[in-house]
């Protein structure tokens, strides 16, 4: 609601430039905003999960259950449930209402990544260390694990796509490739109908989330696919691979019946050809206009590219440490990132100056001097009673509705879960984690 009164110029700023907050609570390894953007979950190296309240930048919940570093976090659509995956081979679904576990699912390997179905908190997909990716469904109470294919689906891999034509291996050595590769990432499409997985040999597999069949495979590159991320609208996705390139794709029309006809061609490649940088983590901004990536090793930067023409628009220098995970706020120009060494969370946001015109009803902001023209009746003396009556009469014309709620521009329209504020518990304290 505040946006209607905010200076439109300040709202037009797309990406943040100022480091505004530093959060020091344990050693953070990964971050995730809820859909509304009023909470930020942070997974710690010691296995705890902290949920920050972004109104106060204080702690809303501390979730303890894992014993090894958290590798991934995923919020349910309504913001009530949080799924955490860890190197301790467990995935835990938390109910943020009371901070209790809803489900704990054990796997046979450390978790690379775990993501909830976009419309159900009882279905999630995990990618595991040297093990097949798994879809877990406990909609009816019992945990069902469905193994998904690691291997590329040979029938479609020899498709007539231009992109594929050059990089496609011959059918003989393809079998060889398939046996060695393992799936590193798995993510749902925005509708939840398909799962996109990326393998250690550069294959993108598209798997139907209901039949568990691989409907399409495409070789994107020859090296590891490290991340796949969809824009919030789902219209584009990016793939980060260890060949130092981030590739931007338009998402094909997935309702189109024949998966073989899905167009999967690279729109833009984002890379730093001078420094030959690897990218630690990638994400879209809230409306898909920008892609950002944090750099690997010595250079402590966050790069922001624009998706329309693919140009680099901004490099944010991180203070002192390498950034391992970076997240863009779901509806504001705000970036949260976590450092590798100390696990400090850095927040960059836009800083808007006070509008002076807001301080008095007759103040106006002008770009240059304006000659004041007085109104014809400006200095007329009107008796108070008459002026008053005129005003009161004028009021009768207005029709007012004080009850009906109209959602205003920029207001989050879905009901979003509010984590109850617990006041009668002792505050948990976290030391600055200097421990190695």
């Amino acid at each position: 609601m505040n946006l209607l009164l905010t200076d439109p110029f300040s709202l037009s700023q797309d990406y943040p430039e100022n480091l505004t907050h530093i959060l020091n609570y344990g050693r953070s390894t990964c971050l995730k905003f809820n859909r509304k953007g009023d909470y930020l979950a942070s997974g710690l190296f010691d296995g705890s999960v902290i949920v920050f309240d972004f109104d106060t930048y204080g702690i809303a919940r501390v979730l303890r259950g894992h014993t090894r570093p958290i590798t991934s976090l995923s919020w349910s659509r309504d913001g009530r449930y949080l799924l955490s995956g860890s190197r301790d081979w467990l995935c835990i679904l938390w109910d943020l209402k009371d901070g209790k576990r809803v489900k704990t699912v054990r796997f046979e390997a450390p978790i690379w990544g775990a993501e909830l179905h976009p419309y159900s908190h009882q279905i999630f997909v995990v990618s595991l260390f040297e093990d097949a990716p798994t879809l877990v469904d406990f909609t009816d109470g019992t945990i069902r694990k469905h193994l998904l294919n690691d291997v590329a689906f040979a029938k479609t891999s020899s498709g007539d796509d231009e992109e594929n034509a050059s990089g496609s291996p011959s059918p003989e050595n393809q079998q060889e490739v398939q046996e060695k590769q393992s799936t590193l990432v798995a993510t749902f499409t925005t509708s939840g109908q398909y799962i996109f997985t990326g393998t250690s040999k550069g294959w993108l597999n598209i798997i139907d989330s209901e039949s568990f069949q691989t409907v399409r495979s495409e070789r994107i590159t020859t090296s590891n696919i490290k991340h796949i991320a969809f824009s919030s609208s789902g219209k584009q996705f990016i793939i980060n691979s260890s060949d130092r390139t981030i590739r931007l794709f338009n998402t094909p029309d997935l309702s189109y019946t024949d998966p073989n006809n899905w167009e999967l061609s690279v729109i833009h490649r984002f890379q730093d050809v001078v420094n030959r940088l690897q990218w630690n983590s990638i994400t879209f901004n809230s409306n898909g206009d920008y892609v950002l990536a944090s750099t690997y090793q010595d250079q402590h930067d966050i790069y922001i590219w624009e998706t329309e023409v693919g140009s680099l628009v901004k490099i944010i220098e991180a203070p002192r440490e390498e950034i391992v995970d970076v997240q863009w706020h779901p509806n504001r120009p705000l970036i949260a990132a976590t450092g590798l060494d100390k696990g400090t969370i850095y927040v960059w946001a836009t800083v808007t100056p006070q509008q002076w015109s807001a301080l008095a009803p007759d103040f106006v902001e002008v770009d240059e001097n304006v000659e004041y023209e007085e109104r014809e009746d400006e200095f007329d003396v009107i008796p108070d009673e008459i002026a008053n009556k005129r005003r009161l009469d004028q009021e009768d014309e207005d029709d007012v509705d004080v009850v009906t709620i109209e959602r205003v521009r920029g207001e989050f329209s879905d009901e979003s879960f509010v984590i109850p504020v617990i006041l009668d518990e002792e505050e948990e304290t976290f030391e600055d984690s200097d421990s190695d």
Binding site: N2, V402, E406, V421
Partner: protein
């Protein structure tokens, strides 16, 4: 500043000291049956052929009187779940009553001086109170225990409100500032140099992104909760002190009460006053007005002549007056879902009215 100090005599902060509490009363024996009432007088005004009004006229009648406070009652609030009535008083206490039968539940004490305002959290489990002892305090309603003391204002705290999520409290003070508090940590997040006179009222918008405040300097200001910046200022024409302001239930309008015996409705996006409700008396005390939306859509305010006035929100006509309290009515509140209204004031009593 001297003038400010003088004008303070006119505020309910000092109302408790000047109130003559002639009725001996004890917490607990609060409920009096209607048949024993001395004052059930009720008049209906101007219901004649009101074609412009979309709403039925109110027919409220006294249900019961809650007796127990030993000084003027400064605010009365229904909990969000509608089960409880909380009252704050210049006698330094907060009392909790059951809304459905008016039964006395408990007294919460701890403030060093009179209490000016209270607000419920959205989950109806926590109350925050503002006091002349320069603190705002957060209380657990189930146990009556204090949870947080919000210290920082340099003078009397006049007004408090919980954010819809319950994680923030805003407070307005005689020291001319607004403070925004992190409830969980109990610390002040931000101090807004809000006005050039005491801040008489603060209220959160329904989505929590804005705070509205008003002051004796005649201004109404809107603030961005996250940045603390002023978004808009509105001024009463005659600069009369504004004693109370709140958002309409849908957040599109503001309702303000000022000491020229007027309650006004503002379209804050246009910065324009759209309605003025007159017919009551309010020249001296901070008087809380509110919307009643459970049956019709009315604006309700207490009057310093002891009556409670209902206006049609659209036509601005007085559709009912209720009476009467012995002394100024300082506060009214409407039940969130039932046709029930609570009022209280200088006569130390709380009256609960229901639609017949």
């Amino acid at each position: 500043m001297e003038m400010d100090l003088d004008s303070r005599e006119d505020t309910p902060a000092s109302s408790g000291d000047t109130t003559d509490s002639e009725l001996p009363s004890h917490p607990g024996d609060a409920l009096r049956p209607i048949s024993n009432l001395r004052h059930t007088s009720q008049e209906n005004h101007s219901q004649n052929g009101n074609s412009k009004s979309r709403y039925p006229t109110p027919h409220y009648k006294l249900r019961f009187i809650l007796e127990g406070h030993k000084a003027g009652v400064t605010n009365v609030k229904f909990s969000a779940d509608g089960k409880w009535i909380a009252t704050s008083s210049a006698d330094k206490s907060i009392k909790i009553w059951k809304a459905d039968d008016g039964e006395y539940e408990m007294t919460i004490e701890g403030h060093g001086r009179g209490i000016n305002d209270i607000a419920w959290s959205h989950d109806s489990r926590v109350i925050v109170s503002a006091s002349d002892d320069k603190t705002a305090r957060v209380w657990d309603v189930a146990s009556g225990h204090i949870l947080r003391i919000l210290r920082g204002h340099t003078s009397y705290v006049y007004s408090v409100d919980f954010s819809p999520k319950g994680n923030l409290v805003a407070s307005g003070s005689f020291d001319e500032s607004i403070k925004i508090w992190d409830v969980k940590k109990g610390v002040c997040l931000r101090t807004l140099p809000a006005h050039s006179d005491p801040v008489s009222s603060v209220h959160f918008s329904r989505d929590g992104t804005m705070i509205v405040s008003c002051s004796h300097d005649g201004q109404i200001r809107l603030w961005d909760t996250a940045s603390g910046q002023c978004l808009k200022t509105m001024i009463e024409d005659n600069n009369s002190p504004v004693s109370n302001v709140r958002f309409s239930p849908n957040g599109k309008y503001l309702l303000s009460g000022s000491l020229d015996s007027s309650v006004r409705l503002w379209d804050y996006l246009k910065g324009k006053r759209v309605k003025t409700y007159q017919g009551h008396k309010n020249e001296k005390y901070i008087t809380v007005s509110t919307f009643s939306t459970t049956r019709g859509v009315w604006v309700v305010s207490g009057s310093e002549d002891g009556q409670i006035v209902f206006w049609d929100v659209q036509t601005k006509e007085v559709v009912q007056t209720l009476g009467k309290h012995e002394g100024a009515v300082l506060c009214v509140d409407a039940h969130p879902s039932q046709n029930m209204l609570a009022s209280a004031g200088m006569d130390n009593l709380v009256r609960v009215w229901i639609e017949q």
